[in-house]
């Protein structure tokens, strides 16, 4: 059974149209015109147990809206969601017991308390058995080094520390499903590294099914086999990153440096640039591998150096956004 099933999910927001100026302000008090904004427009996908999936898409694409509906805090306009076979709106009490959610921009920790006290509060609110709580805290301390910040008041934590705290808080009750909405937003290199390590470890050790939304392509390359690209409320791509890259950019460039200006041609590669003794070949990954091509060329001529230029993920994503 798939852990997460989303079918024909739609969300429309009603937005009050405000008229400008003083007369408009008075008018607004009596008549309100509404505009409908379709933030999520008929999306469907399923996610098997233990998979890490990334949602990416430009700002306003509908990622957070989707995550909110899957977490049960926002009612869909139409469509179905099942998390471990249960509907998060109708059966929220059961669903949250097996679900952790982190919104990167909004902390769920209690501002007035120390980090450790905030965890204790979670323990009581989510009714987590003490042994499980302590075991989880220990496991996560090993990954994130929580012990050193446990006595700091939440309002004094740096963004990176707070994010670590939020991740721990979301996992204290051992949920089998974890939603992370922009978990690496605004973090420095060190912070991102810690969060990625946490996601990988938790997925490996506990088999947690994870969905994360991100703008950071590093997150995707390091963490996810599967990518769902959303734009304007619709899914435009869904599949493994590698597949997407190969489909959108099936060609690679090979740059060969010769000892002199005598270069060779190859039937499965097109020469697209020649600059003195440096020649750029373009080839299709479907027809020949990079290694094969280098082998063939070095059989026919003496070469000094050869590098395969990988495509930039940024470019791929940009092309994918355009649809």
């Amino acid at each position: 059974m798939d852990t997460i099933v989303v079918k024909n999910l739609k969300k429309e927001y009603k937005i009050a149209q405000k008229e400008k100026g003083l007369a408009g302000a008075v008018k607004n008090l009596f008549v309100r015109k509404y505009e409908i904004l379709r933030a999520v427009d008929d999306i469907s996908f399923t996610i098997p147990k233990g998979e890490i999936t990334a949602f990416i898409g430009p700002n306003g694409a509908g990622k957070s809206t989707t995550v909110k509906m899957m977490s049960g805090i926002l009612v869909p306009t139409s469509g179905d969601i099942l998390i471990n076979g249960r509907n998060p709106q109708k059966d929220r009490v059961h669903v949250v017991q097996d679900l952790g959610v982190v919104f990167g921009q909004r902390t769920q920790l209690n501002w007035d308390l120390r980090l450790g006290e905030s965890f204790e509060m979670m323990r009581h609110i989510y009714k987590i058995p003490k042994a499980m709580y302590e075991e989880n805290l220990k496991v996560m301390d090993d990954i994130l080094g929580i012990e050193e910040i446990i006595n700091i008041p939440v309002r004094q934590l740096s963004l990176g520390q707070r994010m670590r705290g939020d991740l721990v808080a979301a996992m204290l009750h051992s949920p089998s499903v974890l939603f992370l909405d922009e978990p690496t937003i605004g973090l420095d290199v060190e912070g991102k590294y810690a969060i990625r390590k946490f996601i990988k470890e938790i997925n490996r050790v506990k088999g947690t099914t994870i969905i994360l939304t991100t703008h950071d392509l590093g997150d995707i390359e390091e963490l996810c086999k599967r990518l769902i690209i959303i734009n304007k409320g619709k899914i435009v791509e869904d599949g493994p990153l590698e597949e997407l890259v190969n489909r959108i950019a099936p060609n690679r460039n090979l740059v060969v440096e010769y000892y002199d200006e005598n270069y060779v041609e190859h039937e499965q590669a097109k020469i697209i640039n020649v600059e003195g003794n440096i020649v750029t070949y373009q080839f299709s990954k479907k027809e020949i591998t990079g290694a094969g091509l280098i082998c063939d060329i070095s059989d026919r001529a003496k070469i000094k150096d050869a590098t395969i230029k990988e495509v930039k993920i940024d470019d791929i994503i940009r092309i994918a956004y355009r649809g």
């Binding site: 009612v75 909004r106 769920q108 501002w111 509060m121």
Partner: protein
């Protein structure tokens, strides 16, 4: 584990936190005492040359003043600020859907806060008032008993009113000045400083129809013995009706707000 364990944790945690703000404690005692002394001097000045005004003697009014100051400690609420923060932070949808009801959490936070405030603020104020203004004793045993019954209802009326008021956070952008205005209007209209019976007839009529006098004035009147058991009963009944109305409105409004947040997004 039931919700009780969460509530008792929250309660104890709040007591502990409130005790930690030592500077606030002294500043608050001093501020409250200044207000209490000013009111006491005001009554002494008014009463010079009179034994009784509106059926109350100067001693009654001094008692009224001291007990009112102590009561104001019990009526401190933070629920408005808490909800405002949650709405501002954008976590309110998550908060409202925790396994433990959000407003129950706020209630126990307030209860913990008030418990420690009572010991570190209320008792010192009572002591200072007793020493320098006059021992604030109840009129008699029955008055004292009626006072405690009424005070309990006052406490809940005050809290539910604050909770109901806090829901304005969902419709207004600038909540904090409103909270301050509410606080001062409530103290003025509830007879906490000047009992309503000193107001002109028409004002008494209006204030009597509002719930505020049932927060401060009724228990205070009972304390200084302005009612007998018989005459107190209708008043306590009206107080109970207000409690039911306010708590009922709060539950209804909270339910509809939760629904709205879940449809429109937090």
């Amino acid at each position: 584990m039931s919700n009780k364990s969460a509530y008792s944790f929250i309660y104890k945690m709040r007591i502990q936190k409130a005790l930690a703000y030592r500077f606030d404690v002294f500043a608050n005692i001093i501020f409250q005492c200044i207000a209490m002394f000013a009111t006491a001097f005001f009554w002494k000045a008014i009463y010079s040359g009179y034994d009784s005004v509106q059926g109350a003697g100067v001693y009654d009014m001094l008692t009224y003043t001291v007990i009112s100051a102590v009561m104001s400690i019990l009526f401190v609420t933070t629920v408005e600020f808490k909800l405002m923060e949650s709405v501002k932070k954008g976590t309110v949808a998550m908060d409202m859907l925790k396994p433990v009801p959000l407003f129950s959490i706020y209630f126990f936070e307030d209860l913990g806060n008030i418990t420690s405030l009572f010991f570190i603020n209320g008792l010192p104020i009572l002591l200072i008032g007793s020493l320098f203004i006059g021992m604030p004793l109840p009129a008699d045993g029955v008055s004292a008993a009626l006072f405690f019954v009424s005070l309990l209802m006052s406490f809940f009326i005050n809290w539910f009113f604050a909770a109901l008021f806090s829901l304005l956070s969902f419709v207004t952008i600038n909540m904090s000045p409103l909270i301050q205005v509410k606080k001062h209007i409530l103290r003025l209209l509830s007879g906490s400083i000047i009992p309503v019976w000193f107001f002109p007839e028409w004002a008494q009529g209006i204030l009597g129809a509002l719930p505020f006098v049932y927060i401060y004035q009724l228990p205070l009147d009972l304390y200084i013995g302005r009612y007998t058991l018989q005459t107190a009963m209708p008043k306590l009944t009206i107080q109970l009706v207000w409690l039911v109305i306010l708590s009922g409105s709060f539950y209804a409004a909270e339910k509809s707000m939760t629904k709205k947040v879940m449809v429109q997004g937090g």
